[in-house]
């Protein structure tokens, strides 16, 4: 709106006025498109739409896109079931970098993030999390025999030659930087397969992901020269939750209610335990505890 008034005032030249007018129209139309339907609430909007758009990574067993294009993994499977019970027929997933998930959620590209995006105080400030869903500790993938003797992120920081790979904007990147590994020795790895390849090629000395993700990768890579160190000493156990926009708290609350029912009935465990996650771990902690830190 501001844009338009300025445009009209400044626009003395004809072409300038047209350009600014077009810009203003664009700004106006895009603000219309992204305007949330406050009247109905987010859940009603999704019910009408028939599906929810969720952000996922491609990091089994949290999230996985099968070769035929179907989306599975523990996080989307839980989300699919919860949304179904809420009356939203299906989920439509798009793959995103971890770091881009929260901005994408805020920009309205997704309705929820169901990707193993671990709860941390600064993330809790940015989004509305559901109660805990998937819990896991951190692990390091190294060459067989752990030649550099890593047990913690601190060990990597202390060795001036050691380089660690981690997904961009993920928890592990932050843990490594917090432990004092300098920026140029924390290599941002685009995906799990590249991480394994870079480790095999000697470009990085350790690759860090949650335990279950590393185990899955190692199983698929089938390389006897790799070894897993888990859990990483001093790194906390994290839990993820489905993340919603702050203004969609009504959707979050409805989601929590169904999730609590599923946890109580054992349906929750039935979905996540085949993937290796512990339902007891998720039920032993709460959002308030994980966000409080």
């Amino acid at each position: 709106m501001n844009f338009m008034t300025t445009g009209m005032r400044v626009g003395s030249g004809k072409s300038l006025r047209i350009t600014l007018g077009a810009l203003a129209a664009l700004a106006l139309s895009s603000s219309f498109m992204s305007a949330p339907a406050v009247a109905d609430g987010k859940l009603e909007e999704l019910k009408k739409q028939g599906f929810a758009r969720v952000a996922i990574a491609n990091e089994p067993p949290y999230t996985e896109v099968k070769p035929d294009g179907t989306v599975s993994g523990a996080a989307p499977d839980v989300a699919r079931e919860v949304f179904k019970r809420l009356g939203v027929g299906d989920i439509v997933a798009s793959i995103s970098e971890y770091g881009a998930m929260i901005p994408g959620l805020q920009a309205g590209r997704f309705d929820a993030v169901t990707a193993g995006l671990f709860m941390k105080p600064e993330r809790c400030k940015a989004v509305a999390y559901s109660e805990p869903i998937l819990c896991d500790a951190e692990a390091l993938l190294v060459k067989k025999g752990n030649p550099m003797g890593f047990a913690s992120y601190k060990d990597i920081a202390d060795n001036p030659k050691a380089r660690i790979g981690a997904p961009g904007g993920g928890t592990e990147e932050k843990l490594a930087l917090q432990a004092g590994v300098p920026r140029d020795r924390v290599i941002v790895v685009p995906d799990g397969q590249s991480g394994v390849k870079m480790l095999q090629d000697g470009r990085i000395d350790a690759y860090s992901l949650p335990v279950l993700s590393i185990n899955d990768l190692v199983k698929k890579a089938n390389d006897p020269d790799l070894a897993v160190i888990a859990p990483v000493k001093g790194a906390p156990v994290y839990c993820d939750g489905a993340a919603f926009r702050k203004q969609d708290a009504d959707l979050r609350d409805a989601y929590d209610k169904v999730l609590a029912e599923m946890k109580a009935s054992g349906d929750f465990a039935k979905i996540i335990e085949p993937y290796g996650f512990s339902a007891a771990a998720a039920m032993s902690t709460t959002r308030d505890k994980l966000c409080g830190g």
């Binding site: 970098e97 971890y98 881009a100 805020q106 941002v188 590249s194 390849k197 095999q200 000697g202």
Partner: protein
């Protein structure tokens, strides 16, 4: 969409580090491209048919495939053959090779542009091969090449964000990483655009200056 100046000041040092790497990559890539281009241009003029054909094929091959694919190949595939290049080295080689094939064509056009009469006159005056190149051909061939070479330099500069795909921490990669950490894309991405614009504008005016000076000598 609320612009935060305090966030800008906070991320500026990180982004400037990225600017440094971007400029290094551009300059390194440009030097390589200039040298590789010259070598390819001379090989392509070789009287030996086999050498000439092979060079032409290499040039067409590299020009006909995307830089991103070449970078992935240099970074992820070569280690399988036992050649592990550092990210920056792989990036420089990728940029140098890719743009070398373009500069080769510029050199070729520049040299072909010198009229045959000049070669004949040099021969008639009994100049040596070296004298012919340094005193007759190149002084006439180089000035018209400069604008085209300069355009490729700027184009290469704007392609350096591709290096982020092979983990080089250049401007784009640094910006993405600060954006990922703070869940804010507005300021980092805007600054990346602004930095690229400023550097492009400065380079363009410097290069135009160079062109004018060379034009006067020529």
């Amino acid at each position: 969409m609320d612009w935060s100046w305090s966030f800008v000041w906070e991320i500026l040092p990180t982004l400037l580090e990225g600017v440094r790497v971007t400029i290094l990559a551009t300059l390194g890539g440009a030097v390589l491209a200039a040298v590789i281009g010259l070598a390819l241009a001379l090989l392509r003029r070789s009287p030996n048919k086999a050498v000439m054909r092979t060079t032409s094929f290499v040039i067409e091959f590299i020009r006909g495939t995307p830089l991103l694919v070449q970078l992935y190949f240099l970074f992820y595939v070569l280690p399988d053959a036992g050649i592990t290049l550092g990210p920056m080295t792989a990036g420089l080689i990728g940029l140098g090779l890719h743009y070398g094939t373009y500069t080769a064509e510029v050199y070729r056009a520049g040299i072909d542009n010198v009229p045959t009469g000049q070669w004949e006159a040099a021969k008639a005056c009994n100049l040596t091969g070296r004298q012919t190149w340094t005193q007759i051909i190149l002084p006439q061939a180089i000035p018209p090449m400069v604008p085209a070479l300069a355009n490729y330099l700027i184009a290469m500069f704007k392609e350096t964000p591709l290096l982020s795909a092979i983990t080089v921490l250049e401007l784009m990669n640094q910006a993405r990483s600060v954006a990922n950490f703070n869940y804010r894309y507005l300021e980092p991405m805007t600054l990346v655009g602004v930095f690229f614009l400023i550097i492009s504008l400065i380079s363009v005016s410097l290069l135009r200056l160079l062109e004018r000076r060379l034009g006067r000598i020529g």
